[in-house]
Amino acid sequence: MTVVLIFLMGVVGTSLWWLKHQRLTSKPWLETGLDNIENGTDNVGLSKPKMGLIVFLAVVGMLFTLFFSGHFMRQEIEDWRPMPLPPVVWINGILLLAASIYLQAALIIARKQKRDLSYLSPIYRRLIFLRGVKSPDASIKHLLLYACVLTTAFLIGQLVAWKSVKNDGFVLSGNPANSFFYVLTGLHALHMLGGLIALFQTTAISWNDPQPEKLLSRIDLSALYWHFLFFIWCIMIFVMLGWTYDPLIELCQRVIA
């Protein structure tokens, strides 16, 4: 459960930082009036949906951390046989990273909404295949579409990965390492799928009826969600490869001992 406690320390740290700004040492029984109180309301400075998403991501983070923790505890038992990851997961990783980059690019453009895209560096523009597109609206809708396609490809890629490990004889109940592979990747894919449905809606809005304000908020949320799930995906791969096990866990165990 060490990793869970490390994650919780992060949550507690963030909470303490936030609480620090809430004037917890004030004496509310002595203070009256409306305007002599600083930060009357909305003092986190984020929109409600973004705040909601951040809280949700903390829950998702906790969920995955608990699974990782279970993975670490279970792999100490001797029947554990590490499972080689199929090569296709690396391609999938690149697909997801690309989707994440595209959403970030869409977010940057949506924020600036300038006519020419010269503020994007040429390398970045080449990276996101936007050489021919000039207007911000057009580039946003193209980028969103690319992100949808890439994420769909990622999900199909994950199915291919499942099929490939199954064909190699690594079935779900064969060994706990296999079980964790299926459960973790399945859970991640479910989260991805949920996000993809929302992204499809956003993309549809951008093609049919682009309202910059509404779109910006939706792209902002999607980009954050994609970055987070890409981050989780990376850690998941590290955990399943066993890379995190030796150095990190041994260090933690030594610290605790």
Binding site: L5, L24, T32, M51, V59, M62, E78
Partner: protein
């Protein structure tokens, strides 16, 4: 000396609160059934939670029938007894207490008390209730499947939970239980996001965090705990479902059952225990923190006195919340853990007593020299205070490894957690219902019936659970449907068990009076007016009672903290939070 400048509001510059878009229902279905209004959702949550809670109450009577009068009732076998115990525990902890405090009171009180028109994500809020409702239906369905519901104990420990020796272990019982829990968690997460974000981002102007009523602090912190703790139960649930349905071995060690080697191997039951209690212990505080918050407001209002040590109360709530995540293994002292490990968890467990005791002192000091009105909500609050103290003290025993080991799995533990986590929060729920029912319906509950209800419940609960400590101390194990002729168990245990059972039936029956009061007061109750308790918080300042859609005509502006009671010179002995009249010290 403190004085009131009633004209002071004229000097305050015109202030407005930014309006938010509000969803307006147009048909009966969207208004009362698939409603997005937090107040309706709150009532839906409360009715379902109380309904399923009554099922659990009946189950507890059946448990007591068996324990008090073993061998008298043919329909209670060892198997059905285990099923009753399991479902009673699970329903009470998760489907009643968690759902009622957070889904019921949270939904009703958060928007009203922070001065918002509704929750920030009303559609998600509606989904939250309906998924909870589905979870309850799946749970109830397990009573009617072949083999009946699971009898694995509310902790659902593997490997026994999914083996054929346990009722429902190889049938549908355990599967439906796990599915229902997973649904509950998904539904709760949707609601929980609403509660947290509404408190963070939905507060009206002037309502700083340090001006929030303690009720909101309690519900808010409990929701944060629940959002972080329930995933542990979800992980355990998913893994156990895989073990049960797909033959994986996350938790299942290699086993021989009836001479047959099962296909499982290598799994770790201890892993399940860690996951379960990582949820299970914060769950205690998920129930307790809203109770702490609500009782603070009840005591302050009905003693007409400002809460003693508001800041400390807030810090204690946050502190208890944080500490509750590092004590879980005190439920596992007998699992064969390393002694140093036990020492660590015993220490953290006992540290929790510090902020908790601080709260108890503050409640007592709030009462001290207060103008105590012995209304039904106040009686229940006092009942809570005494019961929580008693239950907490036996917690000190059980928190110590050396004392816990002989007491583990005895009726002493049952008595302890029923006092601290059963009776105490239920007292607060009752008090809160008597307190807020006038706002929810516009009519008062009958005080006479309320007082009879309180005294029977309060005295009855002590008659049930005090002797149970003794039964546990002489070594009677829990989870045994009958004791047989055990040499170490004295005669008095059988007599006491019968006595406890009779007391339990009386207390159970007293709840019928409460339900009758709830229903009959809807029509016959005395009209409440908008603020019958002369309380300061915003929910009592709404233009209509019960509050209409959108809660307020104009969003209120908050000028003060929520505990300005017995203010010298004030026209009504209190100043509401949105009262701009200023106190000036001379």
């Amino acid at each position: 000396m403190v004085d009131i400048e009633s004209e002071a509001h004229q000097t305050v510059p015109a202030a407005e609160v930014e309006e938010v878009e509000l969803y307006h229902a147009t048909s009966f279905w969207t208004k009362y059934v698939f409603s997005q209004d937090a107040k309706i959702i709150a009532i839906q949550y409360s009715c379902v939670a109380i309904g399923i809670g009554l099922v659990a109450l009946v189950l507890s009577s059946l448990i007591r029938l068996q324990l008090g009068f073993p061998d008298m009732f043919d329909f209670i076998t060892a198997e059905t007894y285990y099923q009753f115990v399991t479902m009673h525990g699970m329903i009470m902890v998760v489907y009643l207490l968690t759902a009622l405090f957070l889904g019921g009171f949270g939904n009703y009180l958060i928007p009203l008390m922070v001065g918002a028109r509704d929750m920030v994500f009303p559609y998600v809020n509606m989904l939250s209730f309906w998924i909870y409702f589905l979870a309850v239906i799946v749970l109830v369905a397990s009573f009617f499947v072949p083999g009946g519901p699971t009898g694995a104990g509310w902790t659902l420990y593997p490997p026994q939970a999914i083996l054929s020796g346990t009722p429902g272990g190889t049938g549908l019982g355990i599967i439906l239980m796990l599915l229902s829990l997973a649904l509950f968690i998904v539904g709760f997460t949707m609601g929980g996001l609403n509660y947290v974000v509404t408190v963070l981002q939905g507060r009206t102007r002037g309502m700083t965090m340090m001006r929030l009523p303690l009720t909101i602090w309690g519900i808010f912190t409990a929701t944060v705990l629940a959002l972080l703790a329930f995933p542990a139960l979800l992980v355990a649930t998913v893994m156990m479902l895989f073990d049960r349905l797909l033959g994986t071995s996350f938790f299942m060690p290699s086993l021989v059952e009836f001479g047959e080697q099962l296909s499982y191997g290598g799994g770790s039951p201890i892993l399940f225990q860690h996951l379960f209690w990582f949820f299970g212990h914060p769950e205690v505080y998920i129930v307790a923190l809203p109770a702490f918050g609500i009782v603070s407001d009840l005591i302050s209002t009905h003693a007409r006195k400002n809460i003693f040590g508001y800041r400390m109360m807030v810090w204690a709530i946050v502190g208890i919340g944080a500490l509750s995540f590092i004590v879980w293994a005190h439920h596992m002292y007998v699992s064969g853990m390393h002694p140093y490990f036990g020492f660590f968890f015993a220490t953290t467990t006992l540290i929790i007593a510090v902020p908790t005791a601080l709260k108890v002192y503050n409640w007592v000091l709030t009462l001290w020299n207060g103008n105590i009105h012995l209304t039904t909500p106040m009686l229940f609050s006092l009942g809570f205070l005494v019961t929580f103290l008693n239950g907490g003290l036996t917690g000190l025993f059980l928190g110590n490894v050396i004392v816990d080991i002989p007491l583990s799995d005895t009726m002493f533990v049952v008595a302890h957690f029923h006092m601290v986590m059963g009776v105490a929060p239920i007292m607060v729920i009752m008090g809160a219902i008597y307190h807020w029912y006038p706002k929810m319906t516009g009519r008062m509950l009958d005080e006479q019936m309320g007082k009879i209800h309180f005294w029977v419940t309060f005295v009855g609960s002590y008659l049930i659970f005090f002797p149970m400590h003794y039964v546990g101390l002489v070594g009677v194990p829990r989870r045994y449907p009958e004791l047989g002729d055990s040499a170490f168990i004295p005669e008095s245990v059988a007599t006491l068990n019968s006595f406890i059972s009779v007391a339990a039936f009386v207390v159970g029956f007293a709840q019928v009076l409460f339900i009758y009061n709830l229903i009959s007061s809807l029509r016959n109750g005395q009209l409440a007016g908008h603020n019958p308790w002369r309380a300061t918080t915003l929910e009592w300042q709404t233009p209509q009672t019960p509050p209409g859609h959108g809660n307020f005509d104009e969003l209120p502006l908050v000028y003060r903290w929520p505990y300005d009671y017995s203010v010298p010179g004030a026209p009504e002995d209190f100043l509401a939070q949105n009262d701009p009249g200023q106190r000036t010290a001379e």
